[in-house]
């Protein structure tokens, strides 16, 4: 069974067709890097995968549950980091994560265990009892990751998880994602191509709402070999999306 399955997703805002027939399948153990220029439809696609937005056409399911007809079951298997890692700024990190965990139906005993694991894994000890409003961007992002992981979901959808992090924090975040990847299906959107090479087992590139490439990073590079020279991922990205974006 594919943990994430989407077919023919379409979304139109007023007259702009933001997503135009995107299909995507992610199986257990895969980390899919979701790439594309700004405005290509990455976030909109992710919002439809999570069921936050209803598509005009197409279907999406998480762990076998349709996200629109059976949303509660689908969302139980889902951890989602929305763009910008929003959180309740007036709550402390501890209160916020406990709130999300309880809303996800964790019992007090399990919640305690999971929170203890989150403190360690996502490295939140220093800010545990601080209000989220007072945190740096890096810590806020980590709180966002922690809330997505608190119930140990099978499917993770992370919208720009490393945006705004410094190089050390980016490194830590990649380590974390790689560490939890086995056993989960993960979709991350990013602008950072080195990140894709570092942690993703597959690359999906979208431009103007359509999937224009779907392959492993190395296959993508091999396909673009010119004169026996393997180009960088950036060159490939630019050649695939550049003409359209321009």
């Amino acid at each position: 069974m594919q943990l994430v399955q989407a077919s023919g997703l379409v979304k139109t805002f007023s007259r702009l067709r933001a997503v135009d027939g995107v299909s995507l399948e992610v199986s257990r153990g895969e980390v899919v890097g979701f790439l594309g220029p700004n405005g290509a439809g990455k976030s909109t696609t992710m919002k439809m995968l999570t069921g936050f937005l209803e598509p005009d056409a197409g279907t999406a399911s998480i762990a076998g549950h349709d996200v629109f007809s059976d949303p509660i079951a689908a969302r139980r298997h889902l951890g989602y980091l929305p763009e910008g890692a929003p959180a309740y700024g007036d709550m402390t990190v501890a209160d916020f994560l406990a709130f999300v965990g309880r809303m996800r139906g964790l019992s007090s005993a399990v919640l305690g265990e999971r929170l203890a694991e989150m403190v360690e894994r996502v490295n939140l000890t220093a800010v545990w009892n601080r209000p989220i409003d007072a945190l740096s961007k890096g810590f806020k992002r980590r709180v966002g990751i922690a809330q997505a992981l608190v119930h140990d979901p099978e499917v993770l959808i992370l919208d720009e998880p490393t945006d705004g992090l410094d190089p050390n924090q980016k490194h830590d975040m990649r380590e974390l994602i790689s560490a939890i990847a086995p056993g989960k299906a993960i979709v991350i959107s990013t602008h950072i191509l080195e990140e894709v090479e570092a942690i993703c087992s597959r690359v999906v590139i979208i431009a103007e709402g359509k999937v224009v490439a779907d392959a492993t990073p190395s296959a993508l590079l091999d396909a673009a070999v010119v004169d026996g020279q393997r180009p960088t991922l950036e060159t490939v990205f630019r050649s695939i999306t550049g003409s359209k974006a321009a």
Binding site: I72, M91, M103
Partner: protein, 248 residues
């Protein structure tokens, strides 16, 4: 319709605490106490009347609430939308109506705190004379119900925008219309051309008229039903708005 009371309780707890996380709660409670006391004493002639009752105090509640309830309700949804937390909240395994009810009850409980704090007036009248305690209780209940109706309308409007100021102004305007609909100003304007049943309908929807009935000490079913059904209707619309935003 399946409902998780646990989710409602969790949302309620979070939202109720959120009122006290900022100075907003203290400011609101102070303003409410100061205004309700000030209006009762200075504009309502609380002492000059020579009667130990709370009439002058409750008479101002429709006018106070039409400003204060939008202030309590405006952040409930608009702020979630502005900060993006709505995306996180609505992708949790929860149903829209559970969140709507939890948020509303939090605001309503906060209102109850404000009303309980005004009970010192009651103590004053008990000291000064012997007020009709049945009337006072009925008035408090009526005030609480009317506040709930204003709050439900404000929460519903808050769900339509990401701008708290717009939410506040729109909610205050709608509340104002509901208060004014029982006044002669509005009714006279209608009487000229509208059929009698329309005039009666508009008058029967008036928050002031219905609240006045309750403050006279009669727990009249129509007044209670009006406020309760306004709450239910506004919250139902609130759920529809939250759901409709998914398709937007």
């Amino acid at each position: 319709m399946k409902t998780s009371f646990r989710t409602i309780a969790l949302v309620f707890g979070r939202e109720f605490r959120a009122y006290f996380a900022t100075p907003l709660a203290a400011v609101f409670l102070l303003v409410f106490l100061a205004l309700s006391a000030g209006l009762a004493f200075f504009a309502g002639g609380f002492f000059e009347r020579g009667q130990a009752d709370l009439g002058p105090f409750f008479a101002w509640h429709p006018w106070l609430f039409l400003i204060l309830m939008p202030a309590i309700g405006m952040r409930l949804w608009a702020d979630e939308r502005r900060s993006g937390v709505i995306e996180l909240l609505m992708t949790l395994p929860v149903r829209a109506h559970e969140v709507v009810i939890g948020k509303f009850l939090a605001g309503w409980a906060f209102t109850a705190v404000a009303l309980v704090l005004t009970m010192s007036f009651w103590l004053v009248t008990l000291y000064l004379g012997s007020p009709d305690n049945g009337i006072v209780l009925a008035s408090y209940l009526g005030s609480f119900l009317m506040a709930g109706a204003f709050l439900a309308i404000s929460a519903c409007i808050s769900a339509m925008t990401k701008n708290q100021v717009i939410a506040f102004i729109l909610a205050a305007i709608v509340s104002f219309l509901l208060v004014m609909s029982g006044t002669n100003l509005v009714l006279a304007a209608l009487r000229g051309w509208a059929p009698a049943f329309v005039v009666d309908l508009v008058q029967s929807l008036s928050f002031i008229t219905n609240f006045d009935r309750l403050t006279r000490g009669v727990l009249e079913a129509p007044a209670v039903i009006l406020f309760l059904s306004t709450i239910v209707l506004a919250l139902w619309i609130n759920v529809q708005v939250v759901d409709a935003k998914k398709a937007a």
